[in-house]
Symmetry: D3
Subunit: 196 residues, 6 copies
Amino acid sequence: MSNAQPISRFSVPELKNLPEDIRATILAVQEKAGFVPNVFLTLAHRPDEFRAFFAYHDALMLKETGNLTKADREMIVTATSAKNDCLYCVVAHGALLRIYAKNPLVADQVAVNHLKADLTPRQRAMLDFAVKVCLDSAAIDEDDYASLHQHGFDDEDIWDIATITAFFGMSNRIANAIGIRPNEEFYLMGRLPRPK
Amino acid sequence: MSNAQPISRFSVPELKNLPEDIRATILAVQEKAGFVPNVFLTLAHRPDEFRAFFAYHDALMLKETGNLTKADREMIVTATSAKNDCLYCVVAHGALLRIYAKNPLVADQVAVNHLKADLTPRQRAMLDFAVKVCLDSAAIDEDDYASLHQHGFDDEDIWDIATITAFFGMSNRIANAIGIRPNEEFYLMGRLPRPK
Amino acid sequence: MSNAQPISRFSVPELKNLPEDIRATILAVQEKAGFVPNVFLTLAHRPDEFRAFFAYHDALMLKETGNLTKADREMIVTATSAKNDCLYCVVAHGALLRIYAKNPLVADQVAVNHLKADLTPRQRAMLDFAVKVCLDSAAIDEDDYASLHQHGFDDEDIWDIATITAFFGMSNRIANAIGIRPNEEFYLMGRLPRPK
Amino acid sequence: MSNAQPISRFSVPELKNLPEDIRATILAVQEKAGFVPNVFLTLAHRPDEFRAFFAYHDALMLKETGNLTKADREMIVTATSAKNDCLYCVVAHGALLRIYAKNPLVADQVAVNHLKADLTPRQRAMLDFAVKVCLDSAAIDEDDYASLHQHGFDDEDIWDIATITAFFGMSNRIANAIGIRPNEEFYLMGRLPRPK
Amino acid sequence: MSNAQPISRFSVPELKNLPEDIRATILAVQEKAGFVPNVFLTLAHRPDEFRAFFAYHDALMLKETGNLTKADREMIVTATSAKNDCLYCVVAHGALLRIYAKNPLVADQVAVNHLKADLTPRQRAMLDFAVKVCLDSAAIDEDDYASLHQHGFDDEDIWDIATITAFFGMSNRIANAIGIRPNEEFYLMGRLPRPK
Amino acid sequence: MSNAQPISRFSVPELKNLPEDIRATILAVQEKAGFVPNVFLTLAHRPDEFRAFFAYHDALMLKETGNLTKADREMIVTATSAKNDCLYCVVAHGALLRIYAKNPLVADQVAVNHLKADLTPRQRAMLDFAVKVCLDSAAIDEDDYASLHQHGFDDEDIWDIATITAFFGMSNRIANAIGIRPNEEFYLMGRLPRPK
C-alpha cells in the first residue's frame, strides 16, 4: 500500500542527515517493527526534543516495576487519545494494545466508549481515572486514589496512570497541531490471528 | 513565611539520597533562584522521569533560536495552565512571566482572561493559538497557521507554541493529579519594582 | 471466534418464535452477510418497532435517487455515531464504510477525527454539516445550506444528510441505552484486500 | 390567526398529489384535531419516510401495554425536545402534554427546567433518565436501570422511555434542520379549562 | 386556580409586618396587575435587598430613553432566562413579552430557540448579543459592538442590553437557588386576544 | 504607576458633573482606599444604576448579621468571578480577600482552583455551593441545603451565599461587556506584610 500523503505538516529530515544517536534509534525501531512509525521521523526534526520525548516515553512505557501491564498502559493511551481526538495515537497505540492484550476487539472498544468495552472492574477503574486526568485533572482528589486502591493499585501505580495519561495528552496535542499521519501499517496490526 | 503544608501527595526524597546528577541540578536551581521549586523535589521521586522532563523543558524554554522571547513562552504557559486550572503552574510561571516581561500585571491578566489583557496583536494571536492547542487541538488547521504567519510567526515558531502548550498541558495534569503545591515565594515574585 | 457475551441487555427472541415477515428479513440478511447483525435480533423483541425501524432505514440508506453514494451515507453514520460514542454503530457502519468506499483506513479516520481524515472538500463539507446536525441542530441555518450548495449538494441531498444523521442519532441512543453489542465479524470486515 | 410564514424550508406537496394512504392519514388527523400538524405536511414530501416515521411514532406513542401513560410519554417528549432546542416539538407536544395531563402548567415547567416542575418522584426519575438518554446515552448503565426499578418501572418501560427519547431526538434534529414551523393552534391548546 | 405549593423555599412575610414602603410597593403592583408576583413576596424577606433590587429593575426596565422598546427588554429577559433554565423568569417575563409585543407566540419561540423565532434582523442581533453576555461575557469585544451598530443600536443601547441581561442573570440565579415559584396567572397572560 | 489605558469602553464622567450623592460616595471611597476603584467611575455614567448597584452591594457585603465573615464573602466573589473570567472582579476582590483574610496566598488559590486551595471544610462547602450557583443554578436542590447545614450554615447564610454569587455574576457580566479595567493598585494590595 503506497502512501502519497505527507507524514506531517513539517519537513521530514533524511535519515543520513540525522545525529548518530537518533539515526540509531530509528534504525532499531525499524528493525523491530518492520517500519518506522511516523512520530519518530516527525520529531527527528528537533533532535533535542526527540531525545527527551523518547526518554520520557521509555521511562513510562518500558518501566519494569509496578502493577501495570504493557496492555494496561496501551489501553490508557488508546482511551485517552480518543478523548483528545488524536488520529495518530488512537491508530498507533490501538495497534499496540491489540498486540499486547492479544485481543483484536479491545482497541476499537475503548476508543469509541470505554464504558461499553469488555473490561475487568480493575481496568474500568483504571480508565475512569485516566479519563478524569485527561479531561478534568483539576478535580482529582483523595476519593480517586481511594477508588483505585480498592482495585489493587498502589500510589506508584496511580502516578504511572496519571503520568502516562499526561504524557500522551502532550503527544496528542503535538500530533494534532503538526498533523502527524499514522502509518498505514498500524491499522491492521493485531487484528488477525498470528500464524502458527 | 513557614509552610506546614506538604509539597505534594507523594513523599519527597531527601537531597542526599538522590542520584548525583539530580542533586546537582537541584542545587544549581537553588543557587540561582534562592529556593527549590517544588516541581523539582516532587519529580525527583522518579529520577528517569525527572531527567526526561527537564531535558524536554530546557529544549523548549531555554532554546536560543526562533522568534519567541522568554516572556512570550512564559505567557503561553501561564495562559494555558489557567485553562487547565493548574495552581502550581499558574503561580510559578506567572512569577517568571512578571520577571521576564518586567510587567507586574500581565500574569494575572492572562491567567484570568487573555482576551482582556494588555497584549500586542502578535501576543494575542499567539495566545489564541495556544489556547486552541490546549482546549481543542483536534481542530487546528491551515487557517491557524495562516493567522500566525500574518503576525510574523514562522512555522518553527508555531511548532514552539504548540509544543510548549502541549508540554505544560502534561505538567498541569501531573501537578493536578499528584497535588504539587506552589512554593510561597512565587506569589510575590516580580510584583515589586526592582531595587536600584 | 466465539462470543460468550450477551447480544444486548434484553432477551433475544428465538427465530422460530418471530412473526413470519421478521423471520424472513433476518434470514435474508443472514444469507447476504453470512451472519445476523445484532441490531436485527435485538429489535425483533418489538416487532412493530422492528418493522418501522428498518422501513425507515431502507428508505434512507437504500434510496436510489440523489447525489449521495452508499459510501457517503455510511461515512455520515460512522462520523456522527462516533460523536455519540455508540460502539455498535461505529463498528458495524465503519465496516460497511470500508467496504463501500473500498478503503480500509477511512472508517477509523472519520471515527477518530473527521477533520484529519483523507476526505475530498465535498466529503468534508458533508461531514461538517452532519456533525452540526448531530451536536447542535438548533443552530442550522441558511448559511449551512449555502455551504453545501457550493459543493454540489442540492436541497434534497441536504434533507438526506440531515435525516440520515437524525435517524442514526436515534439508533445510537437506543443501542447505548439497551446495550447492543456489535458482532465480532464487523471489526475485521473491509480491512483486507479482496481475494482475486 | 393567519399564518403567512412557510411551514418549512422545503416545499409542501398539495394534498391532492399525495399517495392515497398518506392523504387518508392526513385527512384523518385533520378530522380529529381540527387542523393538520405541520410535521405531517412536511414529511409528506417523502412518502416512504412519512410512512416509516408515523409507523414508528404510533408503535411508541399509541402502544397500549406497559406502565407509561400518554401524559408520561408526552412529558418525555416535551422535556427532551427542550434540551434539543426544538421549537416544533416543544410547542406541539407541550400542547398534547397539557391535554393528556389535564394540567395547563406542566408543559412549560418541564420545558424550562424539569428539576423545578411539579412532578411525582416517579415522573422525576423518568425524566432524569430520559434527559440522560438525550444528552449522554453513552453513560447509561445498570445503575440507571436500578433507579427506575425502584420507582416501579420494569425493563419494558425503560425500553419505552429510551426509545421515545431517541425517536424524538431524531424528530428534533429533522425539525431543526429543515425548519418545521409549529402550527399556531398548538400554542394555546390545553391552557384553558374545558367548557362543560 | 388554587395553588397549594409554597411560593419559595423561604418563609414569606405577612404584608402587615412589612416596612411601609415595601408594603406600598406590593399593594401598588397588586392594584395594577391584579395579583402580587411572587418575586415581590419572596424578596420582601430582605427589605434592603428588595429596595435595591427593584430600584435597579426599574432603572433598567422602566427607563424612558434609548432605542429599546419594552417588548425588546422583555424579549432579552425571556431569551436569556431560558438559557439559565429559570422557570420563574421565563414564565413571568414571557407573559410580559406577549403583552408588550402584542404577540402570543414570541415568548415561547425565544424561550425554546431564538434562532428559529419570528424576529426582525435587529431583534436577532440584539438577542445574539444578549445570549453571548449571558453565556460567554468574557469574549465580548469590539466586533460585537460593531455588529449591533449596524442594526441601529448605539453604545447606550448596548449598555442597556448588557445590563438587562446581567441583572436578570442575577435574578435567575436567586430564583433558582431559593426556588421562587411563578404565579399561575402568568402562564396564560397575553395568550388570548384582548376583549374589545 | 501611571495608567494610560482607558478605564472602560464608555466615557467616564468628571467628578464635578456628577450628582451630589454620587460625588460624595466616590469621595468617601477615595478617602478610605486612597484611590477610586474604577467600577465607581464607570457606573457613575448611569446615576440611577450606580445608586441601586451600590445599595445592593452594601446590603450584601456590609451586612452585620449572619455567619459569613467579610473574608468569606470576598472569597465567594473571587472564586465565582474567576469562573466568569472577569478580570476586574478577580483582581479587585482578590485584593480585598487578601486583606480581610490576612492571607497573601488565598486569593490566587481560589481564583485558579478552589479545589486545591488551603481551605477549611466549611469554606470548601461554601465555595462548592457558590460555584454551583454560578455555573448551574438550575440544579440547586435540597441536597445542597443539607450539605451546607452540616457545616453550620443556616438558611439565611445560604441566601447570602447564593445572592452574593448572583450579584457578582451580574457585576462580572457588566464588567466584561463594557470592559472595566482594574486599577493597578489592586494587584499588589494585601500581598506584603503590614508595616508595624
